[in-house]
């Protein structure tokens, strides 16, 4: 083998090198801090699971069928709440998503405001949202719908804005060159590009919201959440097993239907 010399790696500035080292150091520090801060007594955990396994797991897998009717009704109500809430969010998130996307809203201040609104909505604990809506419309399923709608808007708006930021702007330019106005550009160049992603995120959020319904029980918004909390408080693993089964079945069905719809529309 003849000798060779690779050309020198492109010289990185000192600043960059320091930055890289600094970032690495910070990451290492964070992990050290984390693992020092978390103390888990593994021996105890293992002993505990040996004791408890037989108490919990077999019961989870032998659902309490007597509650079937009640669970079915509750899960149906949950589906309705989640559906209404996530569809509302899917719509509410659209203007916010556009506001937060820098290629749609040219003003940096406005996009920052948009992003901050979305973050603030996401930081608001579901439970407080739920209380607020109980106050607004009373303790009922509709309060749950509103709580879910607002709670989901934060996440959907963020995901939407990322989708919008990744569209092909050349198409927008082509429409501009046709003499299309802003709204026409929106409908002809932007929306066709984002629909599939918007749709799959909205459906994904719908699934998440079915799961998130546990929070609804806290405020009397109905649905399966109330049953989850009572089953937990009563340590009623059989009933918990049935509830789990119901949720799994429902989400699987939704998964199936939504996959078909998506195929049709995309």
């Amino acid at each position: 083998m003849e000798t060779y010399t690779l050309p020198p790696k492109p010289e990185r500035s000192l600043f960059k090198k320091i930055k890289t080292i600094l970032i690495a150091a910070i990451i290492v520090a964070i992990y050290v801090w984390t693992f020092l801060g978390i103390d888990i007594d593994w021996a105890r955990a293992i002993a505990r699971i040996q004791d408890n396994f037989a108490r919990v797991i077999p019961n989870l897998f032998s659902p309490d069928w007597s509650a079937t009717a009640e669970v079915s009704l509750s899960i149906l109500e949950t589906v309705l709440i989640a559906f209404a809430g996530s569809l509302m969010a899917a719509i509410l998130a659209i203007p916010l998503g556009f506001l937060a996307a820098h290629n749609m809203t040219r003003s940096r201040i406005l996009t920052t405001i948009g992003k901050w609104i979305l973050s603030a909505v996401r930081a608001f604990p579901d439970i407080i949202l739920a209380i607020l809506f109980v106050v607004a419309v009373g303790p009922n399923a509709f309060a749950g719908v509103l709580a879910i709608a607002i709670g989901s808007t934060g996440m959907l708006g963020k995901l939407y804005s990322e989708v919008i930021e990744s569209i092909d702007m050349k198409v927008v330019e082509a429409m501009e060159a046709n003499g299309a106005n802003k709204i026409q550009i929106l409908f002809y160049a932007v929306i066709p590009q984002i629909i599939p992603e918007f749709l799959s995120y909205a459906i994904y959020r719908f699934e998440v919201d079915i799961r998130a319904s546990s929070i609804l029980g806290i405020v009397g918004a109905g649905g399966i959440g109330t049953m989850i909390i009572f089953a937990a408080n009563n340590r009623n693993w059989n009933e918990m097993g049935l509830i789990l089964l119901a949720i799994i079945i429902v989400v699987t069905i939704i998964d199936f239907i939504s996959a078909r719809i998506r195929r049709k529309i995309v």
């Binding site: 978390i38 505990r48 919990v56 309705l80 569809l87 973050s119 699987t252």
Partner: protein
């Protein structure tokens, strides 16, 4: 196709979409809308008061959260730190374990169908279980403490991450992978050289997204003795110290913003 062309030939001014597509999409649309109105009707049937003073009522309560009592922030650092630590551990473990699971549940990588369907189903089930239920079960199994909290977050994150990342994997450019295979690389080499560089930016961004979800999910975990900021928040609400609760919310907001900032920076650096 042939039908469509016939349509076109017949009329000089064809409709904007083939009639069949139009009908299908319209039906889906109507069904969704119908279901929406039904849900709205159903969920509102228990509503008594109407919307009369809803906003006024809400603002009265919101008013009680202000001004936030920021003086408690030093005291809530510790549970916040605990929450962050739990989220870091859970997210990291999930991110690592997601790699094989996402590969196994990506159709373009796992050509062995039974394995693909098995992992996919497992992931769907994991994703389905409410975090509160997971927490309750793990507390039942391991007793109280951070471990059940971390496990609940971990399982939950795993389901989300595996779904999102397997979808990313399914959308990568398969050509480089074929090139690697054509030059004699084995499965692992093909994945590391052809796939990893393509999915890395998305992967990082999803991991941070899940990290943020985990921070917020810990509010629920607090309810079952898994510790963290959620417990404190619940307590402050319980004692009607809404202004303290607001300080906690602001702290969570700051953490969310910071994560988002890091996420953006990392994505910019990786793309």
């Amino acid at each position: 196709m042939t039908n469509q062309s016939k349509d076109v030939v017949k009329g000089k001014t064809p409709s904007l979409y083939p009639v069949k597509t139009k009908a299908q999409v319209s039906i889906i649309f109507i069904v969704i809308l119908g279901f929406y109105f039904f849900s709205m009707f159903w969920t509102q049937r228990e509503m008594v008061g109407g919307f009369g003073d809803s906003l006024g009522n809400m603002f009265t309560v919101i008013g009680k959260f202000f001004p936030p009592n920021l003086s408690v922030i030093p005291a809530i650092w510790e549970p916040m730190a605990q929450t962050i630590q739990m989220a870091i551990v859970a997210t990291t473990c999930a991110a690592i374990l997601t790699v094989p699971l996402a590969l196994m549940s990506a159709q373009n990588i796992t050509t062995f169908k039974p394995l693909y369907y098995a992992t996919r189903t497992l992931m769907n089930i994991l994703r389905t279980i409410p975090d509160l239920v997971l927490a309750v079960i793990f507390v039942g199994l391991f007793g109280i403490g951070v471990l059940p909290g971390i496990l609940a977050l971990f399982i939950f994150s795993l389901g989300i991450l595996a779904k999102l990342i397997s979808e990313t994997i399914e959308s990568v450019d398969m050509n480089p992978l074929e090139a690697m295979r054509a030059s004699g690389g084995n499965v692992l080499q093909v994945i590391f050289f052809g796939l990893v560089p393509q999915v890395l930016p998305q992967f990082t961004s999803f991991v941070l997204y899940v990290f943020e979800i985990n921070i917020r999910a810990s509010v629920v975990l607090g309810l079952v003795g898994a510790g963290g900021i959620g417990l404190v928040l619940d307590q402050q609400l319980g004692f009607y110290n809404y202004q303290n609760a607001m300080a906690i919310i602001i702290l969570i907001f700051v953490v969310v913003i910071v994560i988002e900032y890091i996420s953006n920076k990392l994505r910019e650096a990786l793309i």
